[in-house]
Symmetry: C2
Subunit: 427 residues, 2 copies
């Protein structure tokens, strides 16, 4: 890739009197606006006895406010053909929507209303418990999702980072209105809230709109429950009657602010990021062992996890584990300048292509602010990627991969004779 | 929604001397180009003994040509950070990529090379059989995907439209080079091939590029194997040890060219298309029966299927079936002018928002050409949607839903006492 990326500099940030930060990026040629209210709330801040509460609160915000019923919320957004949704992660919760720019005021009003004024009616809480229990059962029935979930629990051990975002059914059943409202009041504070928007907008007008709809937001400070995560070598099998065995192996990874994160992105691309990656070539193309095989890097504010996944027939599981182990463990020695050059171009191209989506831009605004307290431009990321050397990559690979802290999880008909640690034990 | 959609009219179509149609839409403000080679090949044109061959050919096109190995294909696209992929449906196969516009020539060269010159080496065929068998096993392990697959098989009965796109393992294992190359030569013909592109491009230059890379394309005519589909009331249970029962119910739906298709889109939106839809409100919001519940409409060139899906706990399956049956069967009587107005706005908004993606635009170019042989503009679709009356909706609902040809499929721990037809039998 030879071209230079031309950065838009339509970034603006305003902190309201109530402490909420409003961050926008104008994209003049689109007709839509993508906006999100983000709050520093997620499953790692939950005490074990209420694990699942953040995700449950996210659901309850759609169940009615003082002035809108659940049906009215749904109907208002459907009536303008917009998209309204939310997600809860381990560290952040986001309520977002995408509408034509002429519906910006409705979008701000609606998002601010559910965010600030959700009323948590008792009968809706009881019904939503059933919905969330169904969501947990659905995850249990999806082996690829399940193996990632178990990896998190096992990799982070006693740390709340390992807790499932959806929580557990016994926890969900016990939740009550006081606990929910109390938790929300503690964590949904203006200092921890961002309102980000990208698309057809004008910053000052957008800020005024937000101010009008969030003016009464009370100031307070969240108490964040967080302990330092640990990981150690371990293997865990969940026997299931399935066609395939689904395997995930987790290792240390850089945090979202670690200077080694760019090296982590490159290693992830080389090992399992695309069709030309080691795992795709060795596992799928050369041996036909799996249809789905990839690596992944999940970074949080102070730590991260690097992992690999594949699903294969039970009788070839040992062969799969050996190949995955070999490619992963040898990466720091086998990586070449040519691999690095391909991976850099691949990541850069993906980032630039993603910038054509206002949703991606809006997400990028929020993450820059949460992790760095400022704008992190695409030009800055591309320059940092370009600067990573082969030596840095080898050092980072040695730290991520070769320090021996593997967590191996297998879901499916694993069988007693499988040596899950296989190649990983050998080195 | 009050605004009028401003249609871009940067649509151009050229038929090359070899018969291939090249259709482009210039989107001046983006940096990327999304392009696809589309061919009239898919699982409904397969004789039963080779079911799965179209999807297998799609895979083989990535396994090397006279001048590129499988690894080179992967590496070239990764090196420019592009996206290269393909899909096979029941009627169409598409090989597509998205790259920065400066990489347009590489993209055309690469796509045309794999499309025209894939070499089908015997050893790669054998390895790819294993990959596709893994893909089939992965689908078997995903109950939501599986229930949709079984619905297709049962709904279309003996018609090839019901055959699984991936085929069956016994069929895949039997495929050989002669059969694959013979099928490809028969169906991958210039008259049945479209090359569509949307994004930063100039039509004449793009046509010249395509001409240079597809010049030798031999002219021939495909023999399309197709019989008229039939459906009838039937219920099918696949017992599985799962947390949830996954249910799909199929009914008649309009084809992609049926004048009633716009009524079909609206009925789909009202019944199960968004958060304010009947099924979402009645099944999830009011009763907490399911986390995932929706309706869908799949249209083909001459027929279609309308369906509903939900996943729930086994002990509430009968309640779920009764509610889904009631809402579906009563739709033609219960639908109101207000529902219709919301649904129209919802569909219009979704269409306009999708036009910000070059991939969506490229797909729309191909489908307009396949089904209508011409440009089908967004303005035309919006006008047709707006014109649908409540009477037409009731008539269409009576035909789609109330003629009694239901195919009901359940995957999971169904239990002997469940009356799958429940409410559906009552009317």
């Amino acid at each position: 890739m030879t071209s230079e990326y031309k950065e838009l500099t339509n970034y603006q940030k305003t902190t309201l009197d109530n402490g909420v930060r409003v961050i926008t990026e104008t994209v003049p040629y689109v007709q839509s606006i993508s906006m999100g209210i983000w709050v520093h709330s997620g499953s790692r801040y939950e005490r074990p006895e209420v694990n699942g509460i953040c995700h449950f609160i996210e659901h309850m915000l759609f169940k009615g406010t003082d002035k809108r019923s659940a049906f009215t919320i749904a109907k208002e957004i459907d009536s303008v053909g917009g998209v309204l949704n939310a997600f809860t992660s381990k560290e952040l919760t986001s309520f977002y929507c995408r509408v034509l720019s002429e519906n910006t005021e409705l979008a701000v009003d609606l998002l601010a209303d559910i965010f600030l004024n959700a009323s948590f009616p008792d009968d809706e809480i009881e019904r939503e418990k059933q919905v969330v229990c169904q969501e947990i059962h659905q995850l249990e029935d999806s082996p690829e999702d399940l193996v990632h979930e178990i990896l998190g629990i096992r990799f982070w051990r006693d740390d709340p980072l390992g807790q499932p975002i959806l929580g557990t059914i016994p926890n969900i059943v016990k939740l009550d209105r006081n606990t929910l409202v109390g938790f929300k009041n503690q964590y949904y504070t203006p200092d921890e809230t961002l309102i980000c928007a990208a698309g057809k907008l004008e910053h000052d007008a957008f800020v005024q709109l937000v101010e009008r709809h969030t003016g009464k937001f009370p100031r307070s400070k969240a108490d964040v429950y967080k302990i330092q995560p640990k990981s150690d070598a371990s293997a865990h099998v969940e026997e299931r009657d399935l066609e395939q065995v689904h395997v995930c192996i987790g290792m240390d990874g850089p945090s979202a602010v670690d200077p080694r994160r760019h090296a982590g992105y490159i290693l992830n691309a080389v090992l399992g990021g695309g069709m030309s990656s080691r795992l795709f070539q060795e596992v799928r193309e050369k041996r036909g062992l799996a249809y789905a095989v990839y690596s992944f890097l999940s970074s949080f504010s102070d730590t991260g996890i690097f992992g690999i996944y594949a699903g294969c027939d039970p009788e070839r599981l040992q062969e799969l584990l050996n190949i995955m182990g070999k490619e992963t463990l040898e990466l720091s020695r086998s990586i070449t300048a040519d691999d690095v050059s391909t991976a850099k171009s691949q990541i850069k191209g993906n980032i630039i292509l993603a910038m054509e989506s206002t949703d991606s831009r809006m997400n990028r605004l929020a993450k820059g602010e949460y992790y760095f307290g400022r704008r992190v431009g695409v030009d800055e990321i591309l320059a940092a990627l370009e600067a990573v050397t082969l030596d840095e990559l080898r050092e980072t690979a040695d730290w991520m991969i070769n320090e021996g802290r593997y967590t191996i999880v297998a879901v499916g008909p694993v069988g007693k004779d499988t040596d899950l640690f296989g190649y990983f034990r050998g080195l």
